[in-house]
Subunit: 194 residues, 2 copies
DNA sequence: GTCTATAATTCGATAGAC
DNA sequence: GTCTATCGAATTATAGAC
């Protein structure tokens, strides 16, 4: 490994980052099939051959664009009665907050018709969602509870951000918190539902 | 209109129905982009040109394949406290019952990356889901309540039938009814959530 | 009514000049 | 490092023989 590769931010790195940014935008807007390498190149103001040169294939480009870290909070540290509200507030930050990226949009839009995206989304569930829920209850129940939470939150994301169902788009943040928060609270903490 | 067209079930009609059945199966499994006219023709054991001859275009074929009637029950006729359970039971019939078709799978799988499918799904919501909810409460709230119900049910369908999230797939019908039913009940009948 | 042949695009990916 | 040119495959859709 040369000093250049280790220390400097080369023009290559900037070009690569530029391509990746364009890819994330287009994969989020149109999904895997709908976003062609030619489209990505045009958005990055570069030749299509360069996209392949930097990422080898469309599949590898998508894999790089579809990396997601939800940064879910440790639920053990908060009041047990506030878990539902905590989760739905974090949901709104992930999808609409100032630091929100297109990661989940990319995964969710493509997961319905692309096996790799579906597998990546299942991995996000298994490695990031389920453990957080498992930490605040019987681990034997964690999968079911985390699955129910995910069904509600992925459904809300789908209806509000992808399908754009008018009444769901119209919901204010406060309405979402007051309506969906208690449903999540119940899925995570209710005792007699197994 | 000749007598043939009006009365007889011609070979044309059977071929047409055969093509449509193959199309519904493949659109449900792979989505709009993933199911080619050639695939549909192969599944129907017929020439690709025949598919175009009978349906003019892939778009028209998809439009025919994506017709959905949920047959939702009249909620006014049942006990108000049983609305949530009634809805989730109907949900399971639509997706897994003996008379269930691939209609909703076709729409849901393609709606994330196909504008026509998304619009059709919004139409199903506006014409079939929202009116049913509006009949059992303040019509001014109907959109929001129906939207919340749809976010939960479409999310559950997505996780269980398309994404196949293992813990959600593993849920028994009874578990789904006991877990999700009350959440729907609350979305439809709770008073102070506007 | 069915099929062959093919037109017209679009796609991902490669080779090679500069 | 960047671009031109192009390959090979796949797609929707059409024209026309039989």
């Amino acid at each position: 490994m040369t000093q250049n590769q280790a220390k400097k931010i080369s023009k290559s790195d900037r070009t690569r980052a530029h391509i990746l940014e364009a890819a994330r935008l287009l994969f989020a807007e149109r999904g895997y099939d709908g976003a062609s390498i030619r489209d990505v190149a045009a958005h990055a103001s570069i030749d299509p051959a360069m996209v392949i040169r930097y990422f080898r294939s469309k599949d590898e480009l998508f894999a790089r664009a579809a990396i997601v870290d939800l940064h879910l909070p440790e639920l053990r540290m908060i009041d047990r009665a506030a878990i539902g509200e905590t989760l739905i507030r974090r949901f709104l930050e992930i999808w609409e907050g100032p630091a929100s990226g297109p990661g989940m949009t990319i995964l969710l839009r493509s997961a319905m018709s692309n096996d790799y995206a579906a597998e990546k989304l299942r991995e996000v569930f298994a490695s990031q969602v389920r453990p957080v829920v498992a930490a605040v209850g019987d681990p034997a129940d964690a999968g079911r509870r985390a699955g129910l939470v995910s069904s509600q939150l992925l459904g809300l994301a789908m209806c509000r951000y992808l399908l754009r169902l008018p009444p769901v788009v119209a919901l204010s943040h406060d309405e979402i918190i007051r309506n969906v928060g208690p449903a999540l609270q119940r899925y995570v903490t209710e005792e007699d539902l197994s």
